[in-house]
Symmetry: C2
Subunit: 297 residues, 2 copies
Amino acid sequence: MAGDFRWQDGFIAVDWGTTNRRAWMVEADGRTHEILDDELGVLKVENGGFPVEIAAIRKRHGDKPILLGGMIGSNRGWIEAPYVAAPASLDGIVASIRWPEEAVGIVPGVSYRNGRDADVMRGEEVQIFGALAEGLAPRDGLLCHPGTHAKWVRMEGGAIGPFRSVMTGELFSTLSRHGILIDRLQDKVSANDDFRAGAEHGLAHDDLTAELFSIRARYLLGAGECDNASYASGLLIGADVRIGLAFGGGGPVALIGRPDLTALYAEALKLAGRDASRIDGEHAFLLGARAIAERLR
Amino acid sequence: MAGDFRWQDGFIAVDWGTTNRRAWMVEADGRTHEILDDELGVLKVENGGFPVEIAAIRKRHGDKPILLGGMIGSNRGWIEAPYVAAPASLDGIVASIRWPEEAVGIVPGVSYRNGRDADVMRGEEVQIFGALAEGLAPRDGLLCHPGTHAKWVRMEGGAIGPFRSVMTGELFSTLSRHGILIDRLQDKVSANDDFRAGAEHGLAHDDLTAELFSIRARYLLGAGECDNASYASGLLIGADVRIGLAFGGGGPVALIGRPDLTALYAEALKLAGRDASRIDGEHAFLLGARAIAERLR
């Protein structure tokens, strides 16, 4: 990546997802500031529209190298950046960056296969290696990235090892928009007693699809007022943590992601008797983008 | 109940649900034939519209007594027929029928409470007592009614005892219309090897919300062609059966409901080492309506 572009003079990092994109200027001295936050997700960019968007960003913010992470590297994005197979190190990921234009890099996702076990991530890997680069997450240990599809990752020697996704966020979102629980799930979720009761249930019982119906039944029968949205969230996150802990090793869990979500997962982990550290996902993304850019000099 | 209406001279039985209704003429000699099958569910009937609908049915099919079951007795129906608390006998249910008009009876649902455990059914009770009246289901034993919200019922001395609902049907339907699994869940489900593989997983593992994501990941990674709709259905039904069997007692399970669904549940039960009998839900409904009508003479 030669030409006039020098990563050490600063670059633009873009987290380009399915429905949203955010971009930051990363200055030569490491300082960052957000330059873009809109709803132009990859699904909204027309065929051939990505070079236009890149040109628009450069016109406005200067001819900087650009690092793109997230679903822009999927088969629905600009150019597919094939998954790097776990165990995946930061060097392995950097080596597999795709370059659709000069000094425009697309970070690949990571895949995991073991017999019938199969999983994929795309976007979380930048945050994970960012947290790792700053010593915020362990080189060996269990890590969790809550979200639409929460990821539980076993870090092995500084590489992303086996990992597993849980559809917690998607299920909560879907249940709050469709079906019989809609009316019960409109309140804001918080880590209150009802959340904890749900998480305790989810951690201890393997009857999620039945207990979700109980929320409706208790309501119909007037069986105790309850913050049902928090209870349901606790139930799903409790089941999620139960699955994640069964999957991973011991020790504290590094939670990376949206602060509201890592707070809920930390609460459920506490009920499971596990310590957790919380790392802001945006911060981790920028640390990861810098760690990658350092390897591109 | 009195007047010119005599149940023994034949009556009309209506299964009036949220989105559909079906009605049958039950002749004095017990023979039945369907007279109505349309999408005028209770949510589509305007305020005050039920007497008009009843009059229309009688004008077309004669001044017969009418027995109404299903969501027409809910708080979104015509008149609420409050739940009868389990243990609920057929006599107890008949005694709680609501009469919005002369010789128009609405069958109540059944509720279950035990500490935090809570559940409700409305509509299934007619089928259950129909199967029981003909000796198709046991007076003591485990019974399952698959559907949008599958019900597992412990029958105790001929009464509906503790029961539990599992959101299997709603979840499968929702996942096939919203979210990342849509494309994978459009095929028709059948009790094939992939269904059995899903059911085996669901019976043996308590990681439903993770294994659902694996369907997507395996597809993205080209990890083995598979009838994903059947696998996902097997997974959900396997988890459902695991919950149901943990809830109920021993012995064969009486499956009552739509033949396509009872076939799938029978297959999953077989994998769990349990025998099952299958009873057609429509047949059971009419048997139940007759059993109720006999008590109204």
